[in-house]
Every structure is written in structure tokens, then in C-alpha cells.
Point group: C2
Chain length 201, copies 2
């Protein structure tokens, strides 16, 4: 709290608080080249939530879809659908606000929550219930794929995750249909319309 | 970016970056005692999202409800319902993780988004569309109400907002039905189950 208040008041800075480092991670890799599962992302900037969001019509068989075949989001089939929250490192968010671009080493974490109405006094609608231990990461880093980004999955409690192969549909879909640099900013209220024209922070 | 990377790498600190102050505000008041509309809350910690969440059964008239009469959330009537995101200052979130309590001057911002399926390639489900200019704030501060908290509404582009009177149903409902200190932590995945038992950050 003291560190927080000092920051809040703009007082002198003795050292970078641990909390700043926790909140501003860069990607780390294992010796075998897997991405280390990010920690602390719940306190990153949440750029947008969705529920049951899918890129195919309900009930449409992928084979029946018009060309180019729409990609299916990895986990969005069940009704009423899970909540998807997308988080971004605070430093990467500030870089985006300042430049309108995504910096190298930007990470987006996609987290999944069951829709719930169990806890009192919820009587209609849904709040975010159980968090899935599976998360996915979209990382901007040269050398992973021609798009300049890589997708990683972390199942269960896996401490690290492999990049999806470049043939995975997520790469093509994000490259062709995302509004800015492979990122679906059109779905994210904290990013949409924030492309800077001036020099203000 | 430079400030962000410096924090990320844990390098020496020349000054507190502006971004830290923006991200860690304390409440401010006008001369007439209204709360100044908080800024920059989109980059605070998003503790939980919901859609159409209401505390009364769909279609139930408030008069017909069993005693104690359930309170109605201020903006949750329309179907399929709006997204509600709840944000908390980063310093207040860290204080909660460390102590299990909400610090004086903790603020929660409640923001409303229309559910949307308009932007390609969304085909099923909903993402967070237009952000309402109306927000609500729940502020922990002695002297506002016997509960130790106050509720404030900011309609349209109002630069400041008055506290709701203590007779408003939100005070009673939060005092009686929230799991911890007037806060519906039962609905917030970033807070539920995070009550600390040890001393780790």
C-alpha cells in the first residue's frame, strides 16, 4: 500500500517496486524453446471481454462455409458460451496508446470462464464463474511465423507451451480478418479508436 | 516504451513514470463535495465481467419479490443484457492481495458496453460493443454512509458526480448480500479465493 500511495502521490522513487515488475513481464522461453506460462496476467490491462464469441454461424458445418473458410475460435462452441477475457501487458498497452502499434514482445492472454448464475444474489444474466486452467497466448515475436506473431496453448497446469504450427487456422484468420496487425482490435473496447493522432500520452 | 521496458527489466528508476500515476489514482472531490470522474480506469485491474446480470428474476415485479426485497442493479434490464466490467485501482488490488481487505480510497468503476455482433468475423456470441458514457463508482471512504462506502453516478459526460443518498437500494443490498465488506467478490474471479493466508505478495 505504501508503494502504491507513493506512486499515486508522485513522490520520490527509491526503487522499482516488485509489483511493477510483476505487472510488466516480457516473454520467457524454456531451453527447448517453449514459452513459459505467463503469471500475474489477471492484473494486466483487460482489453475486451466476450461471451460465446465464434467466427462461424451457429450450427454451420465448417465444410459448408463459404470460401475463404472461416476459422473457428478454439473454445467457443458451447451455449450459452464461455466468457473470454483478453489481457495485455501494461507496458505494451501504453506503447500502443503512444504509437498505435504493437511492440515486439507484446503478449495477449486469452482466458476462459464458465458463465455462472450460482452465487446469490444473481437471478438473471451471467457473471464469470470458474476460470479454466487452460489459457492461450498470442505473442508478437519475429521468427515464430511469417505473420510476426505466434500462438501458444497452455493446457491444464502446464508450465510452458509450444507454438501452434503455422498451418493452424488461427494464423490465417488473424492475418486476414483482424483490423490491425493480426489483432482483433475491432472486438476490444480498450484498443478500438485509440489509434493516436497526436503526441499526448 | 522506454519507461515500460525499464520497469519490465527492473532497471534503475530515475523518476516515477507518468503512467504509474495515471494508473494509481486516488479519489478527488470538487469544492461542492462531488467525486471527480475517474480517468484511465480502462487500464485498471478488471476484476470481473458479466452480461445482463440482475438481482431480480426476469419478469418479476419488485413488489412481488419475497422479503427482504432484492435490490435491482441500476442498469441491467434489457435483453440480452449489457456487459458490465468492474475495474479497481492497481494499488488497491495489490493491497487486497496482500491483506485480504479493501483499503480506504479503494474505487470500483462499473462500466457498461452494448453486446455486439456487428464486426466481422463475429458470427455467434457477443463482444463488447459501444461503451456507455455513463459509469458508476463504488468508493470506500468514511463519512459517506454507515457502510463505509459511497455510490456515485456519472451520467453522460459529467465531470463529477454526487453520492447516491443512503436510502438507495444499492447500499442495503451490498451491505447484506456481498461476500466481503460491501463488495460482491463472489462475482469477481480476480478477487474470489484470493484472500491471503500467508505473507507472499
Amino acid at each position: 500500500l505504501i508503494a502504491g500511495l507513493a506512486l499515486s502521490a508522485g513522490l520520490g522513487c527509491q526503487s522499482v517496486p516488485d509489483s511493477a515488475r510483476v505487472a510488466n513481464p516480457s516473454p520467457a522461453f524454456t531451453d527447448s524453446g517453449e514459452l513459459v506460462r505467463p503469471e500475474g496476467w489477471e492484473a494486466w490491462v483487460m482489453v475486451g471481454a466476450s461471451i460465446g464469441l465464434s467466427y462461424t454461424e451457429p450450427g454451420a458445418a465448417p465444410e459448408a462455409a463459404a470460401a475463404p473458410a472461416p476459422a473457428v475460435t478454439p473454445a467457443s462452441a458451447a451455449a450459452p458460451g464461455r466468457f473470454h477475457n483478453v489481457f495485455m501487458q501494461p507496458w505494451a498497452y501504453r506503447h500502443f496508446l503512444q504509437t498505435g502499434e504493437f511492440a515486439e514482445e507484446t503478449m495477449f492472454v486469452l482466458a476462459f470462464y464458465d458463465p455462472s448464475q450460482d452465487a446469490d444474489p444473481a437471478a438473471a444474466g451471467f457473471y464469470e464463474g470458474e476460470l479454466s486452467s487452460t489459457i492461450e497466448v498470442h505473442l508478437k515475436k519475429q521468427g515464430l511465423d511469417d505473420s510476426g506473431w505466434g500462438f501458444f496453448g497452455f493446457s491444464g497446469d502446464a508450465a510452458s507451451g509450444e507454438a501452434f504450427p503455422s498451418e493452424a487456422s488461427c494464423y490465417t484468420c488473424h492475418a486476414e480478418r483482424a483490423d490491425l496487425d493480426n489483432v482483433f482490435v475491432q472486438f476490444y473496447p480498450a484498443l478500438r479508436g485509440k489509434l493516436p493522432g497526436g503526441s499526448e500520452e
